[in-house]
Symmetry: C2
Subunit: 354 residues, 2 copies
Amino acid sequence: MRIAQIAPLYEAVPPRFYGGTERVVAHLTDALLDLGHDVSLFASADARTRATLVPVRDQAVRLDPHPHKSELAAHLSMMHEVRRRAYDFDVIHFHVDLIHFPFFEDIARHTVTTLHGRLDLKDLPDAYRRWDQYPLVSVSDHQRRALPLANWISTIHHGLPDDLYRVAAKPNDGYLAFLGRISPEKRPDRAIAIAKRAGLKLKIAAKIDAVDNTYFAETIAPLLLDDSVEFVGEINDDEKTQFLGNATALLFPIDWPEPFGLVMIEAIACGTPVVAWRCGAVSEIIDEGVTGFVVSSEEEAAVAVVRARALDRGVIRGMFERRFTASVMAMRYVEVYRYLGSVWERGAPIAAVA
Amino acid sequence: MRIAQIAPLYEAVPPRFYGGTERVVAHLTDALLDLGHDVSLFASADARTRATLVPVRDQAVRLDPHPHKSELAAHLSMMHEVRRRAYDFDVIHFHVDLIHFPFFEDIARHTVTTLHGRLDLKDLPDAYRRWDQYPLVSVSDHQRRALPLANWISTIHHGLPDDLYRVAAKPNDGYLAFLGRISPEKRPDRAIAIAKRAGLKLKIAAKIDAVDNTYFAETIAPLLLDDSVEFVGEINDDEKTQFLGNATALLFPIDWPEPFGLVMIEAIACGTPVVAWRCGAVSEIIDEGVTGFVVSSEEEAAVAVVRARALDRGVIRGMFERRFTASVMAMRYVEVYRYLGSVWERGAPIAAVA
């Protein structure tokens, strides 16, 4: 199939550092190529890909040092370009929330839209009611709850290349890991409390967005004065393997409706157990007592950390290979593309398509 | 004429507090009604207007206490609604940057777009090249410099209702005024330095956006400890008349390419002189030695403050009435609407329009 993947322009594909959506797009693109498809990737020019790259901005927006940028204009221009080339593809797969909705109304059935973010936003029901012709994929069943009546056609969990992470040679270095973003909803403060209660060192690898500077300065920085907490900043993929693979467990004590939680499967790919809060998609990702534990309190979390030491890292890795590889993800998307194709054939002819 | 005004959804129309674009839309709408036109206003439901209101959100986004909102979805839904009703109007006048561009490509010649913001953003040239069919109005000649090749059809300065502000009975209370937003580009620090140099008290009325919290805390808050500086927070329209009208002068020591600078004509409407930095549109707005002074250094500014005391507040107000009333602005827009109408008649027939 001729498939177009449309990535957001916030981070490089894959991102140099933090960035979930662009990372998933990179993995999906590579896995579709491995399955023999003809894939074009619309993304910023700093993408590293074996697909046909259609560069629509010289670099990703977030780390672009230019002081004055317009995310909106950049994404609108990208959509203009996708529209111009729309008939070159059998299916156009969007990962950009809903900004493409005005552009493809007449060929919506040739598109798939994966929603990567939380959907419990006040303004979304009206927009998804107005544009109900776009086939939507959720990244967890939980994610759908905020928009139960939208045009869902499948839930497809994220996946990672099977050679990106591996089980460490001598894991379990006696520390707990927190990886992601310093923000109130990710609850680094709770991770610190759990580590203290479990009597283990905590290493925090995280980016700090400008909007979270005050939260970091006022709430988190004072907690870092403790010797048992180490803040290592934002880390890249290579560092991540070490960071996650050597940890006793990943703590994921979130306080928001997490639509997926990519870092959980990164840990699972390393064979590292996950101790995660009962919140959002967490229960769909963790196999209780196999890849980790889902908890609801700091007490439970501290107990789970002890129990996590007994989990078999080979078995955890095996669960990754069964459920969360990029090729599993890509095969499920190909099913969706094919399903839509058969709907097109059975449905009314789409005049605009050659 | 049947005219649609399309306001942004960030602030109420007019705004309760800060907010330039929505304020101008409110004034333009009222002035067009006074000229006998049939005006519909697309805006959030908290608009106060004599026009036909088409409410597209229950309240404006910024002060909406809902914790999870999507500005983008809200504006896309609004555009969907405008498009649905497009053929009810002779002209559709947009004040929402470029988010409407994907929606009205086939009837762009029935639209006018006033650009209210700075245009020297990296992503704009490509977008304005892709959508070059939309007739654009700039709010100052200076604003155009960043996009000289865009489809400009007129520059129209902002205007205010002539009864909104008045010359104070006993003006010149011996303080200088700073009004707007606490942010590095607005340079409240420079205003404080000028006031000190001039030996006058400074009153600062300003909102603080979340993104500027750190700047406020680190750079401005320490300067407020001085007795000669008073921070009065965000003020409404009624308070503004007092605040500006009683000031010796308004300080506008900006450090960015200000596309217009509404607060300058608010002061001029009160008969209050303006001392402003040579930057952006400032020289187009200030009549040097009549309504104020344009300066390039703190020394010049301090001298200008002294000279400003000698300016005639009645003459300043007269200049407002000649150049910056809402009815002057509305008449100029009607000229543009009529010009476009005559272009349509001469041009190729627009099939989509009944």
